[in-house]
Symmetry: C2
Subunit: 235 residues, 2 copies
Amino acid sequence: MSSNLETTPRAVVLVSGGLDSATTLAIARHSGFDCYALSFDYGQRHRHELEAAKRVCSTIGVSEHAVVPLDLRQFGGSALTSEIAVPKDRDEKTMSAGIPVTYVPARNTVFLSIALAWAEVLGAFDLFIGVNAVDYSGYPDCRPEFIDRFERLANVATKAGVEGAGLFQIHTPLILLKKTEIIAKGIELGVDFGLTHSCYDPFPDGTPCGHCDSCKLRLAGFAEAGLADPLVYAS
Amino acid sequence: MSSNLETTPRAVVLVSGGLDSATTLAIARHSGFDCYALSFDYGQRHRHELEAAKRVCSTIGVSEHAVVPLDLRQFGGSALTSEIAVPKDRDEKTMSAGIPVTYVPARNTVFLSIALAWAEVLGAFDLFIGVNAVDYSGYPDCRPEFIDRFERLANVATKAGVEGAGLFQIHTPLILLKKTEIIAKGIELGVDFGLTHSCYDPFPDGTPCGHCDSCKLRLAGFAEAGLADPLVYAS
């Protein structure tokens, strides 16, 4: 078994194409990991997210970018995987009042599980996910408690964990940062946020709506950082 | 929110088409659950498993049978998802000596995660999986410790768990049974084991090899029960 002293350690990084995952990938690279990016074609309402993920991966630099088809529309249950309308123009208080309809049932559990499967094949023990528990939409699977339990699961779920070849770690470098701090970190590491896509409900040409929770959190983050978002928004 | 007193509770049952999952489905039905069966087209070496899953579901009776395409061959890493040879004619001592090449990285974590996603959409809190930690092939994700950690994860990972609408339970009715006891239980519940498929490496027409770990465990279970396996084996 090769040790991390001899080879660059590998990491599997979940990359959605948004601002948070782009920053997370830059952090993983900056921390010296050989990065394997993982995206999902899960039946999201639009393809702009996946195109952004490809741009982000090729610019920041990864050894491989896997796009796994997994049709969560088969089950539905979310505004992101069905015809349920994406809520618009909600204020901060409303956003933080409960779990919104954009929540996709068990999405991060499913994504991390598949990341774990790939990590085990690659001989990687480090998984990166850009979840955030501060400026977020109230999703249960973005909280430290969820990450902690997934990490505990990973180490009994796998041959690699059980045989003691290493200890799986779920890295969440953004989990306690405010959106504005994430943006500052990304800029410090040279991330081009013009390549990213955050909107839940873009126009057909990919132009972000500017009104969904994701656009509003992003815009507020740039405003607080005293910076202009490089994306062009609709009206 | 409808309570279980008013409606038949729903359960998601993982059905591979093997002897264990058929018995598990029969147990879930017998326990009064309205069953939603879930199978995966994960790039397994042959289609006989999925055909058996369909036969088992339609015979035992389910409200819906979802077959989710999820190509684990994209990652490989197992004799069941790559060209690695399936080991044959291993004795019990060898079988129990370590985790074999038929282990599919993080498979049960991935399968249970997707079952959890569907359960949440269905309003179900009960998941059934036919794992077994006695007469098994040494897979880490068949042990009580794994199931316990997954259950803990499920209850913080989901909107349904966090909002307290119910408590997710992972039912593993076979986990402490010997193979011969599983067969006896299945027969007691009327399972037709002639419809199931257990072989890791069948002939093109579906005839089980009789020599892989799965066939050997199954044959030994029937022999110990003093019964004939209804399947016809090669030579």
